[in-house]
Symmetry: C2
């Protein structure tokens, strides 16, 4: 018997837009004539780095939390995340007035832990490693009755992330192409659903050191990588099942970029656009600047996915972008 | 006989808004709930770091250049500046299709020189020091017939800078107070003219290491400092004659901040608002966060003046903000 996946529809994305509107920002769209000239197209940057909690993740988390039935919601929500989803879920739970538990591995950077704690979630420490994180989360869920909200392989989360594309298309009519990064695939799958329904082409951008989406398109089946190695820490996650199903239908391809290109793109955006973006958000910009994704004459919507990074780590990050600089961080298993 | 100064009027500011509109950005206004909570007021940040050339200076330069009579304009414009005014004047001249000469001291950072050259101005090298710069500029003006455009002590420049306040008040009706940094006084005097006409209170923010405006208010006469020492390199200039005249009428006071407060405020804006601002732009934010400027319950417009800085210098800048870090740069004479 074939397994049946619950996938969101375009109308779920539009319903999500209404549901989350009171709690998230309608983020601005910025342009940059220098970058337009560099690529020969017109670029429209949807600034999810200005989103509540500093990343698009607020959209999916709020949609998931506010979709829960009251008695389910009352028991709270839980997840494991050392990154933006943890902070987003904490924020969403705080807005609904329900408890949240976020399992954070002991080796997570202090500033990420602080982002989660800021919104009042209970931080549950665990040993590093995916299996430890999953075990700790299962224990929390069993002990509390909290609903586990997956960071991306969840129909409500996907529908929520897709609202970024809905807004962008309202703000900039007439786009030809939508470009977004892919990690687990929550953002790209939700956005692709909405954008394709409106007739746009959709392309994903991915770090070469975590190219499971690219490999999946090559082989036609969802590839899971044993290890990843990229500076774009938000994109190391494995492509989700629902995300891959939607991508197959709505995304025309994946453009891969190297870490050096990612860091250079991030720096270019900081210098020319005066906005702070995290490495993951620079991945689509790197794809554009690489010239491997021709956009001459096109109007291109670009989702800048987030702006959370540790400023103390910046010198090392920029140094890593130089040919003589240190190498990428060790692979994450 | 008393000297008569040409001062701009409120209607000059509104005329400037129309004149410059095709060439500059209507910059967005951002908010930040975390900063609102920190100060107990509602803050509205006018993002001139997103302005063309990366700073509000584009407004004044464009207004001055497009105010010139055709035959005057044809001979070009000139200035001495190692900073944002040089780039802004170069851009404005390029838009009008006239030549520009910018005298740049030999010790100016390469990225600033590049900003000027990017817009096609002729960069004229000179030895460091104000007298050398002025001598080189006089030579250029005599040799070319170019009109010298002062960076701030000029009625057309002041009127142009004031358009930032006009836009902000259109974008956010009902402001109580306007806050902007003061260096030479171009921005604050133009903005104060417009804001006071609309009934707002106006306060200037100034680095303690270049507090000529504060001292001028204390003594009732325009004070000129022999030396200055502050990380906010855009605010080291001496208060202009026209600027001081307008400030006396329209600015209620000056709030001084230390370099450590400026760097901390800059970092807070980067981390919480995800935008890149230069140290000078952080000065009003530092004033707000210091608690020395009570804004509880008020709606406050804050001009974030620019976002041009060398990312390679960032680690040193942040290090300078720590108690055990290096000291401020040597005084500028």
């Amino acid at each position: 018997m074939e397994k049946v996946l619950t996938l969101p529809s375009v109308s779920d994305v539009h319903a999500a837009a209404g549901r989350i509107a009171p709690w998230v920002r309608r983020t601005p769209v910025l342009t940059c004539s220098g970058l337009d000239e560099a690529v020969g197209g017109r670029l429209f940057f949807k600034c999810e780095n200005f989103q509540k909690t500093g990343a698009f993740k607020a959209r999916g988390a709020v949609n998931a939390v506010f979709s829960l039935e009251p008695e389910e919601a009352a028991r709270g929500v839980a997840t494991h995340s050392s990154g933006n989803h943890g902070a987003a879920l904490a924020m969403a739970a705080a807005r609904r007035g329900i408890p949240a538990w976020v399992v954070v591995p002991a080796d997570a950077p202090p500033f990420k832990r602080a982002n989660v704690a800021r919104y009042g979630a209970t931080v549950v420490d665990c040993a590093p490693g995916l299996s430890n994180r999953e075990a700790a989360l299962a224990e929390v869920a069993e002990g509390t009755g909290a609903t586990v909200i997956h960071p991306y392989d969840d129909a409500r989360v996907i529908a929520g992330q897709g609202t970024a594309a809905v807004e962008l298309m309202e703000q900039v009519p007439g786009l030809d192409l939508l470009l977004a990064p892919v990690g687990g695939g929550g953002l790209i799958s939700g956005c692709a659903l909405a954008a394709r329904a409106a007739g746009l082409r959709v392309v994903a951008a991915e770090p070469a050191g975590a190219d499971d989406a690219w490999q999946s398109f090559q082989t036609g089946g969802r590839v899971r990588l044993e290890t990843t190695s990229t500076i774009a820490d938000g994109l190391r996650a494995s492509l989700g099942e629902r995300n891959w199903a939607l991508m197959q239908d709505h995304v025309e391809g994946v453009c891969r970029v190297e870490d050096g290109e990612i860091i250079a793109a991030m720096r270019t955006v900081w210098e020319r656009m005066k906005i702070a973006i995290e490495p993951s958000a620079a991945v689509p910009v790197a794809a554009l600047l690489s010239g491997r994704l021709p956009v001459r004459g096109l109007s291109v919507g670009v989702i800048l996915s987030g702006g959370n990074l540790d400023l103390d780590g910046l010198p090392g990050l920029f140094a890593a972008g130089r040919p003589d600089g240190p190498q990428a961080p060790p692979p994450m298993t």
